[in-house]
């Protein structure tokens, strides 16, 4: 079935005017934003490209962040605003890089498609009218399908830019939104626009993909109710939560007992990912603490293999969770089964307690899903290739300069080279900015000498 969107893509028009930037940053998550801001502060012109309709990546969807427990929005939203307002940063959301080729004279030439939102960006005020009148309910991706959004929607309350977008593949073209829009911003005749962009350097900050929990069949995600992923739990705990409280997605009950299955999709050769995802232990511990804040009477049990509280302040945070009464059980959950009344049964070996085989029942089971590479971008490189390592992350060949890739002038920031927590991501993004700035300086000197 050819989707409507693909038909519209065929109507794409080329924009003849070429744009030029010192650096193009691909991916506007926390890493992309940080790298862009640093470069922009140093005076370089930056084009920040994001394929989603809003910037912010995954961080702004989180509840609070470990180990300081400050709210993720409070850190990411101001950064998002700063990116949007910085005079040296050009921000293209809902845009995709189609092709990148090397040009000996000018560095890199990119073809970038700005997808149509079917909403006039300059007119939209983000008033939600279109979303309210739209008749189509679609699972909301940014709430990990815990509730619906509409086919015409504003991605998120704290989205940047806060502009509506129409999901044309789920649209019935009824025109209700168009009729109701108070500023007449909706225009279904918008076409995709393809730009040619010249850039001296590129920073890749495409982040990661979450492990798709349904692939681990034994854990029953998608088939057993009340088995959720940690990202769904993150949403349930966040101040912008989709529900009115921390509730089970099956029947809206307040869970009295919550289990966490660590290493879902990590350290597991049966799903093809032998490495550790670095963050799951800590975010699970954090969520456990938050749950005890939201539901003080709840029991929280974490099934782990090794607790990896390795970063600054992490061990202390882990100790704090233990002191709060979070139960830690050494043993990888083998099987998840449906219990009575929406409960979820887990079977595991309690290794540290003499290796007893045990079954526990929880109201809600959270699968702490791992991080997988998101390096699709390597496919758009034309005539040159950007190398990946054996696990599918971007290859960083040189330990003296870990943000460098195999291509000159292409740098990696954040999770593109491997799983990372937020502090490491921010540090690495700044590092990429430094190396990029150093590279730009060199390129400029060479250009001047010519």
């Amino acid at each position: 079935m050819s989707s409507l969107f693909s038909k519209i893509i065929e109507r794409a028009e080329e924009v003849s005017e070429e744009k030029e930037f010192d650096a193009v940053v691909i991916g506007a998550g926390i890493a992309g934003m940080e790298a862009s801001l640093d470069l922009a502060d140093m005076g370089y012109s930056v084009l920040l490209i994001e394929k989603e309709p809003t910037i912010g990546g995954k961080m702004f969807l989180l509840s609070k962040v470990f180990p300081t427990l400050d709210c993720a929005s409070c850190i990411s939203t101001p950064k998002m605003a700063a990116v949007a307002h910085h005079p040296n940063i050009t921000l293209w959301t809902y845009s995709e890089v189609l092709k990148i080729r090397r040009d000996s004279e000018r560095g890199y030439v990119l073809r970038v498609m700005k997808k149509p939102r079917f909403v006039d960006e300059s007119a939209c005020t983000g008033c939600y009218t279109c979303e309210e009148v739209c008749p189509i309910d679609v699972p909301k991706e940014l709430d990990f399908n815990l509730r619906a959004r509409r086919a015409a929607y504003i991605p998120f309350d704290t989205a940047v830019p806060k502009i509506a977008v129409i999901d044309i593949d789920n649209c019935i073209l009824c025109g209700k939104c168009e009729r109701e829009c108070p500023v007449n911003a909706i225009n279904f005749l918008q076409k995709p626009k393809i730009y040619t962009v010249k850039a001296k350097s590129i920073i890749i900050a495409t982040g990661y993909n979450l492990f798709q929990a349904e692939k681990k069949e034994q854990y029953g995600f998608g088939t057993i109710p009340n088995v959720v992923t940690s990202m769904q739990m993150e949403r349930l705990l966040s101040p912008t939560r989709p529900f009115n409280h921390v509730l089970r997605p099956m029947d809206g009950k307040e869970p009295a007992s919550i289990g966490y299955v660590l290493c879902t999709g990590s350290k597991d050769r049966t799903v093809g990912n032998p490495i550790c995802s670095q963050v799951c232990c800590m975010y699970s511990i954090k969520q456990a603490q938050l749950i005890l804040g939201a539901l003080p009477l709840a029991d929280v049990t974490i099934y782990y293999m090794d607790i990896r509280a390795y970063g600054k302040g992490f061990e202390e945070f882990y100790n704090q969770a233990q002191a709060m009464g979070v139960r830690f059980i050494h043993g990888r959950v083998a099987k998840v089964e449906k219990g009575e009344g929406g409960s979820v049964k887990v079977k595991y070996e309690n290794i540290d307690e003499g290796g007893k085989l045990e079954t526990a029942e929880h109201d809600l089971l959270v699968l702490s899903v791992g991080l997988l590479p998101n390096c699709e971008i390597t496919k758009v490189f034309n005539g040159i290739s950007l190398s990946l390592d054996e696990f599918g992350w971007l290859l960083s060949p040189d330990p003296t300069n870990p943000v460098k890739t195999n291509l000159e002038g292409v740098f990696a920031a954040g999770c593109s080279t491997g799983p990372k927590d937020i502090p490491d991501t921010v540090v690495q993004a700044a590092s990429a900015a430094a190396e990029c700035a150093a590279y730009l300086k060199k390129v400029n000197i060479i250009a001047e000498e010519r």
Binding site: M305, H330, G331, R332, V333, I351, G355, K356, L357
Partner: protein, 341 residues
């Protein structure tokens, strides 16, 4: 070192184990208090030989492969259990004779020797007192030889079981109630030998049927042979039972050979000489025995010789080869039933 010894028997990947416990929790047979396979792995890795050999759990496993399929480190715990059982067979056997059967050069030699020995014996026994009809065998000699052989094997088996009991009684205590012992034995024989109830918990149903048909086939053949022996003729009941038993054995062993050739399931990937010898001998025993009912004349006699040789090989080596698992498993399950928790 213990682990190295076991690794020689096939547990090639066991070192990869990181003690996550998935194998134990996924195992359909493992139960609270008698967990396996991870504990068995640990005993072997840490070098706790007494604990390992004293674990009846070794014999509870049917190697369905669930643990191996779900092992995140691909440490093949199922393969380890198999290897550990082989190791236990060598350790339980009197004078550690069993070890020879797991030696790649010794084992074929032993089998060749046994086969030649049995052939000569058969030929000797089959000599007519008049010295004329060499190829007619009075069945009484065969049965007699079988009886001697049987007694010999049974004595060794009992001695082996005594060794096994000593190990297991080192790790657990048993009831002193004789009645309980007897009742448990009957229960175990019915539930675990004849019906193989526990095996039904494993997911691969076809494999269970194959195994069950092997076991039942053997039992049927045993009954048939006994009937033959007692009646000294071939009554119709014996023929029917023998016929059925033959088919069941051919199906069962054929299935396992096919699986091994296909190399798809975890349990069929690795296998050394002794595994193949065991299963091929069973298959041959089934086929030759079965064909006896259809053949006449010289071909029947030749087939009979082959059949007898194969059966001889199988039975004489039974206490030292995989065949022994039938008796060790039954014994282990029996001991589990009478143990005091």
């Amino acid at each position: 070192m213990l682990l190295d010894e076991i690794k020689k028997m096939g547990a090639f990947d066991v070192n990869a184990c990181c003690s996550c416990g998935v194998c134990t929790a996924i195992c359909p047979l493992s139960e609270n208090g008698d967990e396996f396979p991870r504990k068995m792995l640990r005993y072997a890795m840490v070098g706790l030989e007494k604990e390992l050999l004293g674990s009846p759990q070794l014999w509870e496993c049917y190697y369905c492969g669930e643990c191996t399929k779900s092992c995140p480190r691909q440490a093949d715990p199922g393969g380890f259990m198999m290897a550990a059982r082989k190791y236990a067979i060598t350790r339980y056997s009197v004078g550690k004779i069993g070890k020879a059967f797991y030696n790649k050069t010794l084992a074929p030699l032993i089998y060749s020797f046994l086969s030649v020995f049995s052939l000569i014996g058969i030929l000797l026994i089959s000599r007519d007192p008049n010295g004329t009809a060499i190829f007619t065998i009075p069945e009484i000699y065969i049965h007699l030889a079988g009886l001697v052989l049987g007694t010999f094997v049974i004595v060794i088996v009992i001695a082996n079981l005594a060794i096994m009991y000593r190990y297991i009684s080192g790790t657990r205590k048993f009831t002193k109630n004789i009645e309980a012992w007897v009742n448990s034995l009957i229960r175990v024989i019915i539930k675990e030998v004849i019906v193989q109830e526990r095996y039904s918990k494993c997911s691969d149903r076809l494999r269970r049927y194959a195994h069950l048909s092997l076991v039942l086939g053997f039992i049927l053949l045993m009954i048939a042979t006994t009937i033959d022996y007692i009646t000294a003729t071939r009554p119709i009941s014996g023929i029917v039972l023998g016929f059925a038993g033959g088919i069941m054995i051919i199906f069962g062993s054929g299935f396992f050979i096919y699986q091994r050739l296909k190399h798809r399931e975890p349990y069929s990937i690795h296998g050394d000489f002794i595994d193949w010898a065991f299963i091929i001998l069973i298959f041959l025993a089934g086929c030759t025995g079965f064909s006896l009912d259809f053949l006449t004349g010289l071909s029947a006699v030749v087939m009979m010789y082959i059949h007898l040789t194969v059966v001889f090989d199988l039975i004489v080596t039974a206490p030292f080869t995989k065949f022994a698992h039938a008796i060790y498993r039954t014994f282990a399950l029996w001991l589990k039933e009478v143990q005091i928790k």
